[in-house]
Symmetry: C2
Subunit: 288 residues, 2 copies
């Protein structure tokens, strides 16, 4: 072994002696039972250990949103890893929405408020990879929206209703001025506000994740064909009225029939709609 390698393995405290956490058991002396299953062992890598430790501090409450981690150089030294490896870990946590990295003096790695849009990215990747289908997503959206409408009827507060009303105002204006794509943007916002009106951030997050991609399809459709939903603002007003009255069955019915007509619109000339067109430009983003 070369003399150069020795400092790497001994000169400073290393991350963990548990670097390889699990080993395949040695069954050589015990024969080979047929049903025996080996979980693939997977050598634990430094960056995983680092991510784990940081998440641990989060769960323990030692780290909270707004807190700053030590500078990369310091933290790397503390953990006994190279700066590059530490950066891999920080990158992963950044992409997971846990950290926000900021340059410059007074910069650093800050714990973020949770980024609820991360679920959208998961959904997008699942679609890209073909693990879920557009059909499944649409179907799920119908059911989730049904739930959201019921919860919004039960829990919407005055502020929620006002925000929705203002949204419909914008929708109406966009319609009058012929800004169809802006109107699609209003629709996206409408569903986001409706999701928020449930008063449950988990439900809202789920709702957003199944709505995001759907709206991309609508956008692509409107952009390419120029056709758009007729009497949209009017339908929204009716729905809002039902919501105000806490009339679950009416609100549900209105939303359901609306979804059906949107679906019919999307399914005209289905050949024009490709996953690729709808998903283009959405990239798991780092929102700062």
């Amino acid at each position: 072994m070369s003399t150069k390698s020795s400092p790497r393995t001994s000169a400073r405290p290393r991350l963990s002696s548990l670097n390889r956490r699990e080993r395949a058991p040695d069954h050589r002396a015990a024969g080979s039972p047929a049903a025996l299953q080996f979980r693939p062992i997977h050598t634990r890598r430094a960056f995983e250990e680092i991510c784990e430790r940081i998440r641990e501090q989060l769960v323990l409450g030692v780290l909270k949103p707004g807190d700053k981690l030590p500078a990369e150089r310091d933290l790397a030294r503390q953990l006994g890893v190279s700066r590059n490896v530490l950066r891999e870990a920080l990158r992963s946590l950044e992409m997971a929405g846990v950290l926000r990295l900021q340059k410059g003096v007074k910069g650093g790695a800050f714990i973020r408020e949770g980024d609820t849009s991360r679920m959208n990215d998961v959904m997008r990747d699942m679609l890209s990879l073909g693990t879920i289908s557009v059909r499944e997503l649409s179907e799920a959206r119908v059911h989730v929206l049904d739930l959201v409408v019921r919860l919004a009827c039960a829990n919407a507060r005055a502020a929620d209703l006002e925000a929705l009303e203002a949204n419909v105002d914008r929708t109406e204006l966009a319609t009058r001025e012929g800004r169809l794509l802006d109107r699609v943007e209003c629709s996206r916002e409408f569903y986001k506000l409706l999701a928020a009106a449930t008063g449950n951030k988990v439900i809202a997050m789920i709702m957003d994740s199944v709505t995001e991609i759907h709206m991309r399809f609508v956008y692509a459709k409107v952009a390419s064909s120029g056709v758009a939903m007729a009497r949209l603002a009017e339908k929204r007003r009716q729905f809002l009225a039902a919501l105000r009255e806490r009339n679950v069955s009416s609100a549900t019915r209105l939303m359901r029939t609306h979804l059906e007509s949107v679906q019919r619109m999307l399914e005209q000339d289905p050949g024009a709609m490709s996953l690729h067109v709808a998903l283009a430009d959405i990239q798991p983003g780092i929102r700062r």
Copy 2:
């Protein structure tokens, strides 16, 4: 500028001339309208560009599950970035469940089948960061489960019912043998099978994500107190019977009352239940 820096900026084709995609518009000559909002510009970093390009190839169908990316050294050269930066991108994609990295000759970066468990990790981080509360998660779970039961009644196939039946058999056995923690594991599996019985992977994914953490709480409770749900297997049999009969109202009612009793169990001695206990040991994992 030193002579050393010049090769970095000119010697080989760089990632993109669009390295900074969006710039804040220059409004100096136009005054300062009050409502003007600046989206924070954020210098696009190399690893983001790389992730985007790879995801692009996914959406376009050029890359499919099972495909292998070029070796790190080659890909880095092709993209005109250093190997370290490329690795940051690959790490991020690995943590996102898009890639699987494998060592050794014949190793490399392979496109994975989508990993539906990624959503669980998002949920976990949201809890750790305090963005969502346990209360919201439990409430969401009740509603989602309600939906899942309805869909399972409508769509469960013979194979699904068999798997559920086998699961209840195991539950019964574990009960008789007093293996309470194994029985919790059975419960986790039960809900996973039920989710799968909906026939919709999006719904299943959502269901799993709200169930995972909940089951950690149940596990921690059972492990610490030794108490456990009475007549569990029996209740499961009743529920399965309703499911077989496609009796939505009965199945829904049975599940709902069961959830309530579980909730009562969890809420005894609530002080003992901390987020930290329940979340310990769950780490966004790389399952190979």
